[in-house]
C-alpha cells in the first residue's frame, strides 16, 4: 500500500468565463461569432495548491464560501482536471456525498442503492449482499421502497452516507453533510467515520463546522480565494481560522459603527 493516498502538487484550476454572462442560445452565439463579439476571461478557482493526505488520514477543509473547497473536492474525485499541476489519487473513490443531486428521484431508495452501486462499479449481486446493511444504517425503514422525491433532505443524505460508506471505498469525499440529521444520527456517522479511519480509508471532509472537523480530522487545510492560507494540525489551523473570523467580524463591526 502506498503511503500517500491523495497528492496535490501545485494544482491550479482556471475557469473560462464568458464576458457576456454565458451565452446559452445557439443563434446568439452564431451572431456574436460572426460579429466577433465573443470574449472570455479566466477565473482562477484554485491557485497553486499542494498537499498530501497519507492513506487512512482524514483531512478537514475549511474556508469561506467560494474559497474553492468544493472545486478542490471535484479534482480529488477525478471530475475536474487541473489546468496546471498534478493531482494523484490512489484507490477507489466513492462519489462525493453532498446535499441534493446524484439520486434518481423517480426511483425508490432501494433501486437507487443498486444504481449508486453501479456508479462505483459494483454488480447487482454485489449490492444484493449489502443492501440490508445499507437500509439498516440509513434508518429509512419502509420508506426505502418509496420514490426518492418523497424523501426529506436528511433522509437523502442518510441514504447517500449509508451507501458510500458500505461499499468499501478507499477514498471518501464529504461535502458539508455531517451537520445534517439529528444528534443521534450525527453521532452514528462520527462512529462510522472513526471506524473508517481504523480501516485505513482516506477521507476529505469539507465543512463549515469547526467542531465536526476537530472531532474527526487528523489534519486541516484552510483555503482562501483559491489559495492555501494555512495547513497543518487541526488545532493550529482552526484556532488561526477562529482568530481570523473574529478579526473580520471586528472590522465589520467597526465599519458598521462608523457608518
Amino acid at each position: 500500500m502506498n503511503a500517500t493516498s491523495i497528492e496535490f502538487r501545485n494544482v491550479s484550476l482556471d475557469f473560462k468565463l464568458s464576458n457576456e454572462g454565458g451565452i446559452t442560445s445557439f443563434k446568439e452565439w452564431v451572431i456574436r461569432r460572426v460579429t466577433r463579439k465573443l470574449s472570455y476571461r479566466t477565473m482562477r478557482a484554485l491557485d497553486n495548491i499542494t498537499f498530501d493526505i497519507p492513506s487512512g488520514a482524514t483531512l478537514g477543509v475549511i474556508g469561506h464560501n467560494g474559497a474553492g473547497k468544493s472545486t478542490m473536492l471535484r479534482i480529488a474525485a477525478g471530475i475536474l482536471r487541473p489546468s496546471e499541476g498534478v493531482a494523484t489519487m490512489r484507490g477507489e473513490i466513492a462519489p462525493i456525498i453532498e446535499l441534493g443531486t446524484g439520486f434518481e428521484f423517480e426511483l425508490s431508495g432501494r433501486e437507487n442503492i443498486f444504481f449508486n452501486g453501479a456508479l462505483l462499479g459494483r454488480s447487482w449481486g454485489d449490492m444484493s449482499e449489502r443492501v440490508n446493511e445499507i437500509i439498516d444504517f440509513s434508518e429509512l425503514g419502509e420508506f426505502i421502497d418509496h420514490p426518492i422525491r418523497t424523501y426529506s433532505t436528511g433522509m437523502i443524505v442518510r441514504l447517500a452516507f449509508a451507501i458510500a460508506t458500505t461499499v468499501d471505498p478507499s477514498i471518501l469525499l464529504l461535502d458539508e453533510v455531517l451537520s445534517v440529521g439529528d444528534q443521534r444520527f450525527q453521532a452514528k456517522c462520527n462512529r462510522r467515520m472513526r471506524d473508517f479511519q481504523d480501516r485505513g480509508v482516506t477521507t476529505v471532509l469539507v465543512s463549515h463546522s469547526l467542531s465536526a472537523i476537530e472531532k474527526i480530522c487528523s489534519s486541516c487545510l484552510w483555503l482562501d480565494h483559491g489559495k492555501v492560507k494555512a495547513s497543518g494540525s487541526v488545532d493550529d489551523v482552526t484556532s488561526e481560522y477562529r482568530a481570523w473570523v473574529e478579526s473580520q467580524n471586528g472590522n465589520q463591526a467597526m465599519i458598521m459603527a462608523r457608518s
Partner: protein, 277 residues
C-alpha cells in the same frame, strides 16, 4: 474486495484523454451502463401499468388514423397494405427521433451525477440508444400482429431486422453524440431540432412512396441518409426480401461516418462540459 486503482490527473492542457482511454473507461463502467438502461426501462414501464401497453397501443392507434387518412382521403397507388408500408419505417423513425431528443436532455439531467462522481460522459448517449433499441424491438410486436390481421405474409427476411436495427442504432448513436454535446452548450438546440425532425420526416419516404417525388427534389430525398437506413427495416417486412446490396452499403457508410464525426465532436466538446452543466 476492491481492486486497487490509481487515478493520476495531470495538467489538462498537456494531457488529453484519448479515444482509447475513454473506451477503456467505458468498459470499466459496464455495470453502470446496464444499470442506466435498466433505469430507463423501469422509469418508462414500471411506473405506470399502461406504460408497457401504451408502447404497443401507440402504433395500433396510429395505424387506424393513418389507414383512414391514406386509404380513404389520399391514396398512393400500389401500396398495399398501407399500414405495413408505413409502420415498418415509421417505428424506426420514432426510435431515431426519440433517441436523439432524449440523449440531448439526458446529458443535462445527469449533470448532477457527473458533478458527483467521475463517469465516462459518453455513457448516457449509449445507454439511451440501447434502451431505445429495446423499445423498438417491443414496438415491432404489434406490427407483426397487424400483419397477421391484414393477412400480410411474414417472410424469413425478417431475420435481417436485428442487423438493420444495429446499423440504424450506430447511426443514431453518432447523431446523438453530436446533438447532445451541442445541447449542453446551447439550450435552444433541442427546440430547433424538434422542428428539424418534422422536416426530416417529410424528407424521408415514410408516409409516401419515393415515386411521388418530383425529379428536381429527388436528390434531396436520395441524399438523405435516413432514406437508405430506414429501407433496411422496411424491405424485409413490406417487400419480404433482403435490402439491395447498395442500400446496405450506403447505410453502413452513413452509420460509420455519423459515429466517427459524432464521437469527435462529442469528445472535443466534452472537456468543458462541467462548466455548462
Amino acid at each position: 474486495m476492491i481492486e486497487s486503482s490509481s487515478t493520476v490527473l495531470v495538467n489538462a492542457a498537456e494531457h488529453r484523454v484519448g479515444t482509447l482511454e475513454e473506451l477503456r473507461d467505458l468498459a470499466r463502467h459496464s455495470h453502470l451502463l446496464a444499470s442506466l438502461v435498466k433505469r430507463d426501462l423501469t422509469v418508462r414501464y414500471k411506473r405506470s401499468v399502461i406504460g408497457f401497453f401504451w408502447t404497443m397501443l401507440n402504433p395500433l392507434l396510429l395505424m387506424i388514423i393513418l389507414t383512414v387518412v391514406f386509404s380513404a382521403l389520399f391514396r398512393f397507388e400500389g401500396i398495399e397494405p398501407y399500414a405495413v408500408y408505413f409502420l415498418s419505417e415509421y417505428l424506426v423513425f420514432g426510435f431515431f427521433s426519440q433517441t436523439t431528443v432524449t440523449s440531448m436532455t439526458s446529458l443535462s439531467w445527469n449533470g448532477g451525477l457527473m458533478k458527483k462522481v467521475r463517469v465516462p460522459k459518453s455513457i448516457f448517449a449509449i445507454s439511451t440508444t440501447i434502451s431505445g433499441l429495446v423499445n423498438l424491438c417491443l414496438a415491432y410486436i404489434p406490427l407483426f400482429v397487424i400483419m397477421m390481421v391484414l393477412d400480410a405474409p411474414i417472410r424469413p427476411a425478417v431475420f435481417f431486422l436485428p442487423v438493420a436495427f444495429l446499423i440504424i442504432g450506430v447511426f443514431t448513436l453518432g447523431v446523438s453524440f453530436f446533438l447532445s454535446a451541442l445541447a449542453v452548450y446551447f439550450e435552444d438546440v433541442s427546440h430547433m431540432y424538434q422542428v428539424a425532425t418534422i422536416g426530416l420526416m417529410y424528407m424521408t419516404p415514410i408516409i409516401y412512396p419515393i415515386s411521388i417525388i418530383p425529379y428536381k427534389y429527388l436528390w434531396l430525398v436520395r441524399g438523405n441518409p435516413l432514406t437508405h437506413l430506414f429501407k433496411l427495416a422496411r424491405d424485409p417486412i413490406y417487400l419480404g426480401q433482403l435490402p439491395a446490396g447498395h442500400v446496405i452499403q450506403a447505410s453502413v457508410i452513413s452509420a460509420v461516418v455519423a459515429l466517427v464525426l459524432g464521437w469527435l465532436v462529442f469528445h472535443r466538446l466534452s472537456r468543458n462540459f462541467y462548466h455548462h452543466l
